[in-house]
């Protein structure tokens, strides 16, 4: 009998505070597994955001720092420039990265900082109670858009991967989803490629992960996965938007 799946050493034994069915847990595990498989767990430094994943420093089994809201790429820039031999990643949600932290992520990519970013897009503010995010879909209800988001009032949802793919310093940009086992395996592959690009010194990398928020969407965990597939995936197409060979 061989063990084909067990908890990775990339995660601590601390149980997460996430709601039942929250996909943060899946993405945490993928990041932990990739850190171990690439052999960089000992030299990895992660930067946690503000948002539901603010306590990520308790869950990743590597050195962690926690940044002010949206400023994880700026903090990671400082860490990477002082410790160029360490592996530096940020883990951010859409309220953090796509709203208050837009300037930081755009300019970290623009400067071609050799850091990696995991961007969790669940189309809503989770921790603060389900407010509308820049990524909230048209018609989607939120506590600050009780009748659903309208284009007239709030514009169309921002597509972060497409935007960053136009920036020269961004060496790797890919959007994945964690709605089923097949996509979760693809997500892990993308995270691995993204992390490798930093290790090869090729520049900035980001993986946008379409995720769920069952609690604030008002759905059960399985229903939320279905909602992601039917509503988010058509507007946020999965796929690679940039690889190093396209940068030249």
């Amino acid at each position: 009998m061989t063990i084909v799946f067990e908890k990775t050493k990339g995660l601590t034994d601390v149980q997460t505070h996430y709601c039942p069915g929250c996909t943060h847990g899946i993405v945490h595990r993928l990041v932990g597994e990739v850190l171990v498989e690439l052999g960089v767990l000992d030299k990895a430094i992660g930067v946690a955001p503000v948002g539901c994943s603010v306590f990520a420093y308790n869950y990743f089994n590597c050195d962690m720092q926690q940044a002010a809201h949206g400023r994880a790429p700026a903090v990671a820039t400082g860490i990477k420039r002082v410790h160029p031999d360490n592996f530096v990643f940020t883990y951010q949600g859409d309220g953090d990265l796509a709203s208050i932290g837009t300037a930081e992520i755009v300019h970290a990519a623009h400067r071609g900082e050799k850091i990696s970013t995991i961007f969790i897009n669940n189309a809503i503010y989770g921790m603060t109670g389900g407010q509308m995010a820049p990524t909230t879909l048209i018609g989607q209800k939120a506590t600050t858009a009780p009748l659903g988001r309208t284009e007239e009032h709030s514009g169309r949802p921002i597509k972060v991967s497409e935007m960053l793919a136009t920036i020269h310093g961004a060496a790797f940009v890919e959007r994945v989803a964690v709605n089923n086992p097949a996509n979760i395996r693809k997500a892990k592959k993308a995270i691995k490629e993204c992390f490798q690009i930093q290790l090869e010194g090729k520049g900035f990398g980001i993986v946008e992960v379409l995720s769920t928020c069952p609690t604030n969407w008002g759905l059960t965990a399985p229903e939320a996965m279905k909602w992601l597939e039917e509503n988010m995936m058509p507007y946020y197409p999965l796929g690679n938007y940039r690889r190093p060979e396209e940068v030249e």
Binding site: M1, T2, I3, V4, F5, E6, K7, T8, L11, Q15, T16, Y18, C19, P20, G21, C22, T23, H24, G25, I26, R29, V178, N180, P181, I184, R185, P214, T220, A221, P222, M225
Partner: protein, 71 residues
């Protein structure tokens, strides 16, 4: 004869039910007769003999509750 074996760390399960939706042989269900340390109905195996050890359940579990072995 089972080809695989799944072990659940029941007390850390949050009862989200995602594993039950991805099992190709449909042998996972929330055990409504039990309440775990967190206060949820934990996921459990209804027919261990049918397990094929595909690890789909462990792949989608957000709380790393499941260990999978293959024969």
């Amino acid at each position: 004869m089972a080809k695989g074996k799944v072990t659940f760390n029941e007390d850390i399960c949050k009862g989200c039910g995602l594993c039950t939706t991805v099992c190709p042989v449909k042998i996972l269900a929330l055990d409504k007769t039990k309440i775990n340390a967190k206060g949820y109905h934990p996921a459990s195996v209804t027919d261990p003999e049918k397990c094929i050890g595909c690890a789909n359940c462990a792949t989608i579990c957000p709380d790393v509750v499941i260990t999978v072995e293959r024969f």
